[in-house]
Amino acid sequence: MAATRSLPAGLPAATPERRPRPPRRRGPLLPYVLVVPAVVALGLALGYPVLRQVQLSLQEFGLAQQFGAPAEWVGLDNYRELLGQAYLWKVVVRSLVFCVVNAGLTLVIGMGVALLMTRMSKPVRLLAQTGLLLAWAMPVLAALTVWQWLFDTQYGIVNWLLTRLGGDYEGHSWLLEPLSFFFVATVIVVWMSVPFVAFTGYAALTQVSEDLVEAAELDGANGWQRLRHIVLPSIRPVLLVVGLLEIIWGLRVFTQIYVLQEAGGVTRETNLLGTHIYRLGIAGGDFGTAAAVAIFMLALTVVLTAPYVRTMLRQEELDELEGTAR
């Protein structure tokens, strides 16, 4: 938050001659005092780890250093070594594709469910919402255990059902081939994130002005046109935020992949950025290189989300303008 907020604030400072135009009312000091604890907490909770991470990424830091041996500064060696590895780029591409597919599917399915909910009768909607809430509230590891059993090679109900339906799925391993592995991972990740999108989307949809939709209907707009030109633009800000979150979540997915890798599949061919960093760092004891990958991933996230953030800022500025015009 801090970084994006400072952007518009920084603009007038850079162009002082424009400054006198909108005469600013000096606010009281109290709001700033109130915001200090939050800023300090953020700085400690986020700032320190990030700085430490940067520092680690510039050091040769292994297990011996973890237990107190002095760490040697190696400058950009960790980065140089990494960027030269073909494997890192494979993992990056894999992560990006996985992220885009998952974020896209989650958004489409989640919004679909949200639209559906606006058409449901109250009891049915309550039932659907309870189901979604349970899926959302289920602890990740518990959910993963269930999913693992569903797709289990020997005792899984998915194989049993497909075999009953005439397929040759007895003893079929769903995790053995990377594509099939990511199919299962996608099903699980999407299942876990749809409720959030559905609830947020539904909340936004209830705020869409009914008059506007009705007016469009009277003017002869069909369902698709009403959705495309009235409903979606009205909830655009919400869609943007949810989309942004989904992309970030899709990029940093870890638990699902890690657990599935322990259950089966080929680790090297199914590593995403999260598990790659973990296997380098905590499991492999090479914290310096792992930190370098983490910083790289951070940069990737920023680059990937920058257009979203820009759009959101512009939206906010527009809203502000509209607000002052009224």
Partner: protein
Amino acid sequence: MAAATAGVLALGLGLTACGDDDESPSGGGGGGDESAEIRVWVNGADTPDAARDWLKTTFEDQNPGSTLTIEEQEWEGLVERLTTALSSESETPDVVEIGNTQAPTFTTAGAFADLTDDLGDLGGDDLLPGFVDGATVDGATYAVPYYAGSKYVFYRKDLFEAAGLSVPTNMDEFVQTAIDLKKANPEPASFSGFWFPGQDWRNGVAFVWDAGGDLATDEGGEWQGALSTPESIAGLETVQTLMTEASGAPKDGNEADPQAPFCAGEIGMMAAPSWVTGLIEDPETGCPDMMANVGVFALPGSDGGPAPVLLGGSDIAVAAKSANQDLAKEVVALMVSDEYQTLMAEAGLTPAKESLAGLLGDDEFAQAAILAGSNAKLTPASPGWAQVEGSRVLEDLFVEIAKGGDVAELAAAADEAITEQLN
């Protein structure tokens, strides 16, 4: 927003480094309080309850005011958990059990207190030498053996009889027996003549060693992956034969919970640690009725003697950052004491002292355990070995072999990865 969320992300990943700043002067006989709460980590279900109870009662009787808590850890992910816990003065357990092949990772990093001066009191030359050597760096010993227990082969006597098979006496016979057993039991499709899930490299390495190969070798200070030598490849091909022709286990499965398929009647032979007997005998986890049909033997090698299997077992060590060094060492002394080790032996675990080997008894199980341990080997003694295990390159290799891939090609790729990680 981006900065904030990115920060959260970095926070999650940054946790790895926490605690490395405490420059504690502890280690090496730093005393600590008169009375303290001692935390002991043991792993999995291996340690029997009788031994746990004895340890707690005895320690608390001998040290009034102090308490001892046993915290059971999962074997899965243990190295990761120790990496984070042992490096934090406030979080560290005082005494930890660690797999004997995992110990070098931590002994070379300075995570354990030096036990060299206490070795005499703990058992000295009587302690299993292979374990002490594995925990010794530059003349200093950082861990002592807890128990040994190399895997041996469980088999179904009734299925052997029905198929007219006898216990194999060398490697070729073993492979043939496994294949014949699978052929004799076409139903269910998941039946295994020899149960060999794809990720099980700890079992697979026995076939590589038996053929004269190795995982990695020390070439004048430089560690080199050795899986693509002709001997290793011959061993890996035996693995492939067993996996594709004799095993019905999932090609990418792991070796956890072998008692489940065994009790479901899907296994003719399997290599498992001795304490799996306990799981089969337990009415909750296993099938006590099946025990009448269970026989065991040590995996036979090509020369007719026992095959070189992975030396299984555990070490115990004192955390270097523990504030209660003296009390922690007392706990270690209790855990290698004759009384405690007798309780371990009663549960089928090979005791940590050579003089106690007789405690195992002389039934079929004891004989198999002693024979299997007599030719057991360790993973390469390189400090970088943990990285190899952490990256799961060996699990990957054996899964690809189970899938029916080209062994020579896969072994060459694995060697490249191993060589890079060891240096």
